[in-house]
């Protein structure tokens, strides 16, 4: 057990070191959702009227609505950034150091996902503080309770990202991931607009959104942030957690590691 503890400590230590050394990465991760909050939402506030929908108990501003989605955006982009790092590590060879440890490989990969989730959570909380200062209605209790949810859901996205990094053969293919994974995942969710609005426009898109794990990640953050819970969302989140971890672990099974490196 002691060995596993030190191993986890080392992986988290390295991820935090990288995070501290790449301050530009921290700011760019913040700038993206802040631009959406300050500019995009300002433009759309008048265009998009929102009905009262759970977990909200009264009419809310569009800024308030999109904050959980933008937290999800931070987690999503950070997960993909971590996937990009894994591909670079694979190309550079440093990934082999991790994979040749005598400690259980799935444990090592989980630690890697958890370490990235810690970094994502720090960024998400910083964003929530800025959003609060900007005037978005948030409670301290809500933000504190959201921390474990952000951490947990971030692991799901990191696991998907890890799986993607295992199937990408070259760094050049990463741009395609942006177009075919990140953007559809983000836009086909409840991050920017409630699902009933999508249902009004297209039943097909609504169905796709209903299967998108990112929808449930955003909703779980939204509900917790406003001190509500929806048990069915958490069951679905847990289901996606298992699926994502299984995919990530399968992606880094021994025989698959070297083929691409």
């Amino acid at each position: 057990m002691r060995n596993y503890f030190y191993c986890a400590q080392g992986i988290i230590y390295k991820e935090l070191l990288r995070f501290l050394k790449e301050k530009s990465r921290f700011f760019s991760a913040l700038v993206r959702p802040l631009l959406w909050l300050f500019i995009f939402s300002a433009g759309f506030t008048s265009a998009l009227g929102l009905a009262i929908i759970p977990p909200y108990e009264s009419y809310i501003t569009y800024e308030t609505y999109i904050v959980p989605g933008l937290v999800g955006m931070i987690l999503l982009f950070n997960g993909m950034q971590s996937s990009l790092t894994m591909i670079i590590d694979k190309e550079m060879g440093s990934m082999k150091i991790l994979l040749t440890s005598y400690i259980n490989r799935n444990f090592l990969l989980f630690c890697k996902m958890f370490a990235t989730a810690i970094v994502s959570t720090i960024q998400a909380i910083t964003f929530l503080i800025v959003a609060y200062l900007y005037g978005v209605e948030l409670s301290i209790t809500g933000v504190l309770l959201t921390i474990p949810v952000i951490l947990f859901t971030s692991i799901i996205l990191n696991a998907f990202a890890l799986f993607i990094s295992s199937v990408i053969k070259q760094l050049e293919n990463f741009a395609a991931i942006m177009n075919f994974v990140i953007f559809p995942m983000f836009f086909l969710s409840s991050a920017l607009y409630p699902l009933w609005k999508i249902k009004d426009s297209s039943l097909f898109l609504y169905t796709v959104c209903s299967f998108n794990p990112f929808t449930y990640i955003v909703e779980s953050i939204r509900f917790t942030l406003y001190l509500k819970y929806d048990l069915s969302t958490f069951y679905i989140i847990f289901f996606y957690f298992i699926v994502a971890l299984s995919l990530a672990f399968m992606g880094y099974k021994s025989k698959k590691v070297l083929k691409k490196s």
């Binding site: 030190y6 230590y13 390295k14 550079m92 060879g93 440093s94 005598y102 400690i103 590691v257």
Partner: protein, 245 residues
């Protein structure tokens, strides 16, 4: 009688229907300096990947320190690994890189530095602990990787073309250092290379060609057995005799 620290028995491996290893069998004794010598594409790196579990074993058996490779938590516990390509994080300092690797071997930060204190001094690295790896030259980076591989006091050290890209002095400094450790009985080494000048007559040798082991034994005995002048000629003779090995 010396025991075997590494044993490969009838190991075969196929990549996309092409058989790259054909019934490989060889073993290395405790406290020996063994060399796996072969040309590029002979199958050396595939063997290295199987030994380090980067590839799954398809057929045959591999035992390290008495444990089968499938029992990796025990088999890989007491080995050190140096890869052909650089694997240090360039943005981190030497100390931070060592901390990270030590942690992957289940050691605390304090234990990590304590375990390689002598190694750092012997390889002139103790002054460079807080230097960023990207500021080190190729020779020093390699030395850091050697020290790193010794963090867990391994019984067996596996090195895959560890001196590629280094100047002659750096190459032989590293070789001499490891040979001294082997002579003291501190560890066993499997040195994988295509460079003939890195092999000494006292080494144990396994010659691999086109996925097959052509010969194993002490270098001087192999040369004598085929009545050749040196290792290069012996290698040429053996590969000519076995063109489709």
């Amino acid at each position: 009688m010396k025991t075997h620290i590494l044993e490969l028995e009838n190991v075969s491996h196929t990549y996309d229907k092409e058989m790259v290893l054909k019934n490989i069998s060889f073993s290395i004794e405790e406290a020996s300096f063994s060399v796996l010598l072969g040309l590029n594409g002979a199958g050396k790196s595939t063997i290295f990947s199987l030994l380090t579990r980067l590839l799954n074993l398809q057929s045959g058996s591999i035992k390290i320190n008495g444990y089968t490779i499938q029992n990796y938590s025990k088999a890989l516990k007491d080995i050190g690994i140096v890869f052909q390509e650089p694997t240090l994080d360039l943005d981190l300092t030497v100390r931070q890189n060592l901390y990270y690797y030590g942690a992957l071997k289940g050691l605390s930060f304090k234990e990590t530095i304590a375990s390689i204190k002598d190694e750092l001094t012997n390889l002139d690295l103790d002054e460079k602990l807080d230097t960023k790896v990207q500021k080190l030259n190729g020779g020093h980076r390699r030395r850091v990787e050697i020290v790193r591989s010794l963090i867990n006091k391994p019984k067996l050290l596996l090195l895959d073309e560890a001196t590629v890209g280094l100047d002659l002095k750096s190459r032989f400094d590293i070789l001499d250092y490891l040979r001294r450790k082997v002579q003291k009985g501190e560890l066993s080494v499997l040195w994988i290379t295509h460079l003939f000048d890195e092999v000494q007559e006292s080494d144990t040798l396994a010659i691999i060609h086109k996925g097959k082991i052509l010969q194993t034994g002490k270098v001087e005995a192999i040369i004598a057995e085929h009545n050749q002048a040196d290792l290069t000629q012996t290698f040429r003779y053996l590969t000519r005799e076995n063109p489709d090995a």
